[in-house]
Symmetry: C2
Subunit: 360 residues, 2 copies
């Protein structure tokens, strides 16, 4: 298809901070946004229109899709029925296939493994009968995760041995789960790949990611990953994006096992949307991940992904945001706040990007 | 006063592209915007609320001011009565004094001259009786400008000699005008100064500006102005901002007469708002002029004004915008479109920022 002309409207399923930052990016390009969300969220304050209705209300979804020129989403748990209802009326990018795969950890891992791309050992845990085979499959310690709806460390239980599996399964309320083996990684990285409607892919520099209590804490570029392995990381991400027929920004989290490992990179998980580990692109690149996502879903040429500065992004979680005034005064620091009214523990309230002159 | 907390609402008088880019900048900071405009403009698509009503409707202005936490403006021709009506309810920043001075070229030139700051020779032209004295005052060629409501070269007539003054005055419909002497400048620069509620001032690098048909064409940093004179330029701008008790971004256009001139810098005009010659700050600085304006009017600490990249901003005027798809594909180029529906000749439709690694 040809590019949507300036003045077109991007429909966004989801009204959180990712939708807000997408909408702000669309504003640079002369586009506007229409938010669809089950609750009024921070994106609504920067949208030309908002529809607040359940994702299950297919009539409302259809009316929303009719009012826009293309539909995208800012979270991977958009009900497939909602995406399908929208797609009957307008293009949905990335497509429903990406949603389908990313919503179910078992489907995701299987999909990636079937591409010949390394993932941690995994096994389905559906009931007590699956305990022994699953434990044998990963061989020892691991993490039991619900197949659906987990994020930021929620819906996960670490087990030190097979003996702890029944308790963990019970703690997760016995819902269909996946047991993943632990990967002895040196550090964690991610690839932010953007893929255009014509199949072109571009990559941002690969950030080093650190976590606190299961939530992303910092993303830093450049990361210590050797250039050849950074290139390998982008190739793996591109293979996944290609296999999904993906359009937009895809976040691919990876474990880096070290330069001497036989297989240095193992996929952790994918996120079919702009990704928290790419927020640094707002201030260290000419075209941010948000703008490139909008460009891709609007059928536009992709923008520059090179970084002009080194940078560390740090999330502001919960009460971290109370320091906003001090952070706003800090030299070399860009402050991003999401406009959420209440700083609950574990809630992503904003982030800061601290930039430095580009090192190499 | 203390800083407005995140979640506060900035009221903006005016709904054009400057208001739109202010609103997008406010979005980064967790703030939101309410636009007041006599017509629905491109800012409205990114505002939490919009009031469309005449600027003369003081009841509507008052209700608008009651709904927001601070009021600012994006164009200098806000009626003083509207600013006064708003100020009775909420702080107006920059204050009405800046509007009063900037709305009348004669008041502006007089104000600057009385600060001991160089301006081009000027004289009032109110009627035929003032022709002789005005022509003598500037001594030869000059530009006759309406005192009010001129912009982008509109409301101006160049005269080669005193003999052309009557015809020019008639062409401007005999409205109160000002005759300005020509300044033999080497090139044009501007200062973007931001002044906080506490009186702190910060400056962006001084751009070199070029014009086409009376409209800004390009702004480039670094400019060829010697560092000592760039410093002098910022001091002049700060003196004006201080004298106005200014809060926010002030644009000060200056003629640079060359390193050997006895007085190298002469003020051309001031704009009590974010300024077109500062649009490059969006992509070459960590904190843009738009964000710093919002920070200042919200009582926040000012942000970083250093440039991380060299840059040339080029305006897209009228049909220039038809090239948007090619510009979007151009490496090293950030495209900004304003979302205006119709590309009329002379209309500012967008701009591009072409960045390069910082040279020095």
């Amino acid at each position: 298809m040809s590019a949507l002309p300036p003045g077109s409207t991007i429909g966004i399923l989801g009204g959180g901070q990712l939708g807000r930052m997408m909408s702000l990016a669309a504003g640079r390009l002369g586009l506007k946004c229409h938010i669809y969300s089950d609750v009024r969220g921070p994106a609504c304050d920067f949208a030309a229109a908002s529809t607040i209705a359940p994702y299950e209300d297919t009539a409302k979804i259809r009316a929303f899709a009719e009012a826009v020129d293309v539909v995208t989403y800012e979270f991977e748990n958009v009900p497939l029925e909602a995406a399908a209802a929208a797609e009957a009326v307008a293009p949905v990018r990335p497509g429903p296939k990406a949603l389908e795969v990313a919503q179910d950890r078992l489907a995701e891992k299987t999909f990636i493994r079937d591409l010949g791309i390394p993932v941690a050992p995994f096994a389905a845990v559906d009931n007590a009968a699956s305990f022994d085979a699953a434990a044998a499959g990963i061989g020892g310690a691991g993490i039991l995760k619900t197949r659906r709806l987990g994020y930021d460390g929620k819906g996960q239980m670490r087990i030190a041995s097979a003996a702890e599996l029944p308790g963990a399964f019970e703690a997760l309320k016995g819902v269909p789960s996946i047991l993943e083996g632990l990967v002895p990684f040196a550090f964690e990285v991610s690839v932010l790949v953007v893929r255009g409607v014509n199949g072109e892919t571009r990559f941002y520099d690969v950030p080093l990611n650190t976590h606190k209590e299961g939530i992303l804490d910092t993303s830093t570029v450049p990361s210590p990953i050797p250039p050849a392995h950074a290139k390998r990381a982008t190739e793996l991400a591109a293979a996944i994006a290609d296999a999904l027929g993906y359009v937009g920004v895809l976040g691919v989290e990876m474990f880096y096992l070290g330069a001497d490992a036989p297989e240095p990179l193992v996929i952790n998980e994918i996120a079919p949307r702009v990704h928290n580990s790419g927020h640094w692109t707002q201030d260290a690149c000419l075209v941010s991940q948000f703008e490139n996502h909008i460009r891709a879903v609007a059928g536009w040429p992709l923008g520059a992904t090179e970084r002009h500065s080194d940078v560390t992004m740090t999330n502001l979680i919960g009460a971290d945001v109370d320091r906003w005034a001090a952070l706003a005064a800090e030299p070399g620091t860009a402050l991003h706040l999401y406009g959420k009214p209440e700083a609950r523990p574990g809630r992503k309230m904003g982030h800061v990007n601290r930039i430095r002159p580009r090192s190499a």
